[in-house]
Symmetry: C2
Subunit: 148 residues, 2 copies
DNA sequence: CATTATTATATTGTGCGCAATATATTATCT
DNA sequence: AGATAATATATTGCGCACAATATAATAATG
């Protein structure tokens, strides 16, 4: 009985890496890692956002985001500026090429679905359960669309 | 439509990390990381195993496993020995304390379920879909029980 | 039997992910 | 206003993941 739930956690862990591995060759073409791609997706939705807001959305802390965002800045995809009214917060803004990269990224998810040989229905089923468990166990800020 | 499947991948990625974060305080008590715990679980099932066999089961390569296994060896939980009949392969054997650690680890999954506030049914549902997608997209060596 | 190819693991380098800590700024409270 | 607390980000250190490469041993071939 105990083993069974272990396998559930492991299956999730393995599948998560498997999907990212399918993203990799496609993201390589636009010189992004999967976490960098996620950060840009959040910014494509709503912009500018603070590091804190990005972190809540992605469930990542500044120890992860700061270097990641610096790499995106080096690639001239975003700009990091301290808010003049509160010098503690760093606001992330997309550059023109950062905005334009969205067009190249749009087709990636379909290609991943094809390369993984999975259907929209399977993905939806998985997403719904995953989001339900995220809401139960964590703060549940996934479907919150915190794009104030 | 494209956003939807992105969120499926992200939900999985976020949930995977969330679960591991729930494991962390429990695994801290027995001085293990989650990947180290997984490696030991495979060894508790079947022992000894080569690095290659462990890697297939965990879907991890030697670049990840070699340092991980060296840490487990430093903790006196396993022993790494080169097979005399073929000096290329490294066989992993549990030490006595490595075997005994299973007892302390047995109760962890139930505690994780409780701390995440999820049911066995939800986990099973998730595991079944995840394993199905893993089989479709990858080599599908999850339910293979490759414990020769 | 020597050469080549294959196999198994190790090494190196990059980028997360997260805990712990540090730093700097702003808000709060006498 | 000055001391204290709270907030937002940055830094450091460790352990994965994975690609690329290296090393060593075995198998296959002529």
């Amino acid at each position: 009985m105990l083993q069974l739930d272990n396998q559930a956690c492991f299956a999730l862990y393995a599948l998560s890496r498997e999907i990212i591995n399918h993203y990799r060759p496609l993201l390589d073409e636009i010189d992004l890692t999967y976490p960098q791609y996620l950060a840009l997706m959040v910014l494509w939705e709503c912009q500018p956002q603070t590091v804190n807001q990005l972190g809540e959305r992605l469930r990542l802390d500044s120890g992860t985001l700061t270097p990641l965002l610096k790499r995106l800045e080096q690639k001239k995809l975003i700009i990091r500026t301290r808010r003049s009214s509160d010098e503690r917060v760093v606001e992330i803004t997309l550059t023109q090429s950062g905005k334009e990269l969205k067009n190249a990224a749009l087709e990636i998810p379909v290609k991943v679905m094809q390369s993984m040989n999975v259907t929209m229905e399977e993905l939806s089923e998985l997403r719904i359960i995953a989001q339900k468990l995220l809401e139960k166990s964590g703060r549940g800020c996934l479907s919150a669309t915190t794009t104030d």
